[in-house]
Amino acid sequence: MNDNNIILSVSHLTRKVTVEGSTKAIVNEISFEFKRGGIYTILGPSGAGKSSFLRLINRLDEPTSGEIVFDGKDYREYAPTVLRQQVGYLFQTPIMFPGTVKDNILYAQGRLDEARVDQLLAAASVKPGMKDQRDDKLSGGEKQRVALARLLATEPSVVLLDEPTSALDPTYTEMIEKVIRKIVAEQGLTAIMVSHSPDQAVRMNGVGLLLVEGRLVESGPTKELVENPRTDLGRRYRDKELT
């Protein structure tokens, strides 16, 4: 835990929810350490708890038990508003606030000069000419890149990406993947991405985590995890037996 190279660690992280009288652990005893500057892709079948896991890290939901340590401190020591600026979250469906692209960046961080806005837009591969475009004039891929630039405005150390390309076509998907790899390389961020695509996980070329029914069943270099899983559940996931 004192390893300075570890930006985020979770230990026995669990979230239980009660639906129609029955209680279920949607995130179940997950323990893992995320290193600074790493790219992590979380894979798993539908309902495996991938998004629920990300929501706990951003503290959009509260764990039932377990620990989260961010930058050497227990997550409860941070005000949620401060923690969320440090651990940014990009949603599956790009969400824009009413206004221009620039308004959206300034919503995240009001005290930014023009040069910094340009820098953030460039980091997310948003064309400079789009700064004054209104939110309703943007395509899905453009919105997602603006949302990424907006998230970077709070200068996070970790970015959580919840299936950021699932609503995009292959061209935009490739573009977003490239942008993520670029910001990780240039800014030393840690990216934790949920994906439903093993191919995408391989393209992101980092560490993969496989979640099944809320449990972390396997982790390791993404290519190995996807192509040569060590566990029975991993092989069943590879062979598309788990849906």
Binding site: V19, L60, P80, T81, G88, F91, I95, F97
Partner: protein, 257 residues
């Protein structure tokens, strides 16, 4: 002044009979509601008339407070019954209406516009509570539907490190305006489209029109302040029901929406 007795009131019920007859002729299925409603109104109003006569004669401060408390409780019950699936909706409506009433009646007393007599306090409280009740229900319903309908936008703001208050600000403005809309419209149209109740009542009772108008202006100012306070308190308390102390949006799985 026209002298009204029970004979005139019973004769007025011929108009109810006319309305029922017309609705029968046109096959509009409201006869039962009309008949029951008009009888209920008669019984309720006569009861209130006797109760007010008793309270006015006694002129007891605690009785005035008790009457106001009962009116607020009934108003809160009516307002909260219109708000769907929000925790503590009755308490929210009660506190909001009570706040709106206390602030405005308190201000009128402090400014010596009225004195604390049953004759003034109770009818004014009735007007305030009636309007505040509607403002509270409208505001609560609007903010609840906006929060439920815009949950992804609110969560996107929270995920950027915004507080629940900042995340809900655009929706709070809309909801507050909705709650105050009837009073804002009233100020726009008063005297032109409609002659309001208090003024009309005074004129019918034989008062000078100018005095009636002055009272109506005071009533208008009072109601505007009351619905504003009620809407803001309703908003403050309702929005909190959707968030945990850690700025997390509470959704249907937690029993709120």
């Amino acid at each position: 002044m026209i002298e009204l007795g029970f004979t005139q009131v019973f004769l007025a019920y011929l108009l109810v009979a006319l309305a029922i007859g017309l609705s029968l002729w046109w096959k509009i299925p409201v006869q039962k509601d009309m008949a029951l409603g008009s009888v209920r109104a008669f019984v309720q109003l006569i009861a209130v008339g006797y109760a007010l006569k008793y309270i006015f004669e006694l002129e007891s401060a605690w009785l005035i407070h008790l009457a106001m408390l009962i009116m607020t409780l009934v108003g809160a019950q009516a307002a909260s019954s219109k708000v769907k699936k929000v925790r503590r909706s009755f308490v929210i409506a009660f506190v909001s209406i009570a706040a709106g009433s206390a602030v405005t009646i308190g201000a009128l007393l402090l400014l010596q516009i009225i004195t604390f007599e049953a004759r003034y306090a109770i009818p004014l409280a009735g007007m305030i509570i009636g309007n505040s009740m509607n403002a509270s229900a409208l505001t609560a319903n609007r903010i609840c539907s906006d929060i439920r309908g815009h949950a992804p936008v609110i969560e996107a703001a929270l995920a950027l490190g915004k507080s629940w208050r900042t995340a809900c600000l655009p929706f709070q403005k809309e909801a507050a305006t909705t709650g105050m809309l009837s009073m804002l419209n009233f100020f726009k149209t008063v005297g032109i489209v409609a002659l309001p109740g208090a003024m009309t009542g005074m004129i019918l009772a034989g008062a000078e029109p100018l005095k009636a108008v002055l009272l109506q202006i005071v009533v208008g100012c009072m109601l505007l302040a009351a619905v504003t306070v009620t809407s803001i308190v309703t908003l403050e308390l309702t929005v909190r029901q959707f968030f945990t102390p850690h700025h997390q949006l509470v959704t249907d799985r937690d029993g709120c929406s």
